[in-house]
């Protein structure tokens, strides 16, 4: 299963399965036929040899459907026209229904309450922009409105599911040391990426120089906590907005929700709450990916043996 644990301290590619996230991104083949992010070492070597490390958007055989860029080797020509129509249909079908992946049934208000999602910080720590999301203040303790949280969470999970369905790259970010391991294992379990270490300044904005030309950036960034360890907003939120990457973020009562595309007002400090979020995101992403496989099989696209691309 493909995953990347991005750590700037381990820049060497070892034979173990730990790769830096963006190195993995260069090698990750997203062909029509193999939906799995993982490829065998031999296939990776093959793609590396064929493409010569240069995965740039201009060089790919661009198929005109949904903005996907499939890394196809020049010698292999899949049946393009029919496949494109079917792919378009597969991509557009989920957009017709309001809750195609049925994410609303993954959680209930009682689950949120039991996980203490409604508990905010004290009144003194309150961010002025979080006031619309608060239910009230009980003896100086901010209480987050769970009705609003339900709606926001449903939107956020739905968006995540659609991105995962379309084969987008999702990056989990959290600078809370207490939950670093949990976030990394969550990312590993759904085949996506995590970044829970020090965020270097040019990670997104200077990616082409830091990681080599033609790096594919994440299509969605999920923040399990939008603050860094000195209670300032995480740099990733501003950087994602700069690079036109949508973000989903859990915003507590002391956070600034203005730049987060799909904020989810809720507690980000309690282990029970963070475990709940991780579980929900993992379930939605896995559900979306399974659904995609089903749809491809249904429309007869994916062959049982994966073709090298």
């Amino acid at each position: 299963m493909g995953y990347g644990c991005c750590s700037f301290l381990h820049k060497h590619i070892t034979t173990s399965v730990y790769f830096t996230a963006f190195w993995e991104l260069q090698l990750r083949s997203r062909s029509l036929l193999t939906f799995h992010g993982s490829a065998s070492m031999a296939v990776r070597a093959l793609t590396r040899g064929l493409l010569g490390f240069r995965y740039s958007r201009a060089a790919t055989v661009a198929s005109p459907c949904g903005g996907h860029h499939y890394v196809t080797a020049p010698s292999v020509k899949p049946p393009q026209p029919q496949a494109d129509d079917v792919t378009e249909k597969i991509l557009n079908q989920p957009l017709e229904k309001p809750d195609f992946f049925r994410v609303a049934e993954l959680f209930s208000l009682k689950d949120l309450f039991d996980a203490r999602v409604h508990l905010g910080h004290k009144k003194g720590c309150r961010h002025r922009l979080m006031e619309p999301y608060l239910y009230g203040c009980r003896l100086d303790h901010d209480i987050i409105d769970l009705d609003q949280t339900m709606e926001h969470l449903q939107l956020a999970l739905n968006f995540t599911a659609h991105i995962a369905y379309r084969g987008g790259i999702i990056l989990f970010v959290s600078r809370r040391r207490q939950f670093g391991h949990l976030v990394e294992t969550t990312a590993k379990d759904c085949g996506e990426y995590a970044h829970t270490r020090y965020w270097q300044g040019g990670l997104l904005t200077n990616a082409n120089i830091q990681y080599g030309p033609g790096v594919r950036l994440p299509d969605l960034i999920i923040f399990l906590s939008t603050l860094n360890n000195v209670f300032q907003q995480h740099v990733g939120i501003r950087d994602a907005a700069k690079m036109n990457i949508p973000t989903v973020g859990v915003v507590d009562s002391n956070c600034n929700p203005s730049l987060v595309t799909y904020p989810v007002p809720g507690n980000d400090d309690t282990p029970a709450a963070v475990e709940l979020y991780c579980r929900l995101f993992k379930m939605t992403i896995n559900r979306a990916k399974d659904r995609r496989k089903q749809m491809e099989l249904l429309h007869g696209l994916s062959a049982p043996t994966s073709q090298t691309s």
Binding site: R128, C137, H162, R238, P263
Partner: protein, 179 residues
């Protein structure tokens, strides 16, 4: 890939939409999330909000204080009986604390209707006493009828005096023995 890095102007979506409209981003290069955002937009467009610097602009936001009618009973209980004898177990969602039992009993007696407010407090305490919950008044001296271990009442000075007197006796006897 062309992009616009102006995070303070418009949202991610508006910038990409305008880039597509103007032709900078080709339709086949449009990002993965574009159609999904278009179909399911967030409740509030993620526009950057300028932080308020002037102190005069600070208006009090409308975050209501949460108070319940039982809070009056709770304040009365805590004033009289302090923190209560039994600790609160917050890990159980169906836990009923001593204060909550007091409140429930108070409301029950009030609904019966006979008593007035001043005596209602005493009556609730008596009713809880019948059920087996002892409420100790805050600041009242501890109950003398509780059995105290007699060892605790011994004073150190008396013990030392005893030991010293015992010690002098033994030394006298040993001196007699030795000599």
């Amino acid at each position: 890939m062309a992009g616009s890095r102006l995070e303070r102007f418009g949202t991610v979506f508006t910038r990409v939409r305008d880039l597509i409209r103007s032709g900078v981003i080709k339709p086949k290069e449009k990002p993965l999330w574009y159609d999904v955002y278009k179909t399911f937009p967030p409740k509030r467009a993620p526009l950057h909000v300028k932080p308020v610097t002037s102190p005069f602009a600070k208006k009090q936001g409308i975050v209501p204080e949460i108070f319940y009618s039982e809070d009056k009973i709770r304040t009365g209980f805590y004033e009289q009986y302090g923190r209560g004898l039994r600790a609160l177990d917050l890990s159980k969602s169906n836990f009923v604390s001593t204060c909550q039992r007091f409140v429930d009993k108070y409301r029950e007696l009030k609904s019966h209707g006979m008593l007035d407010n001043s005596s209602l407090f005493e009556e609730t305490a008596k009713a809880l006493l019948k059920e087996g919950i002892i409420l100790r008044r805050r600041g009242a001296p501890p109950n003398k009828s509780e059995s105290r271990d007699p060892v605790l009442d011994l004073k150190l000075i008396d013990m030392l005096a005893e030991q010293q007197s015992a010690g002098t006796d033994t030394t006298k006897t040993t001196e007699d023995k030795n000599s």
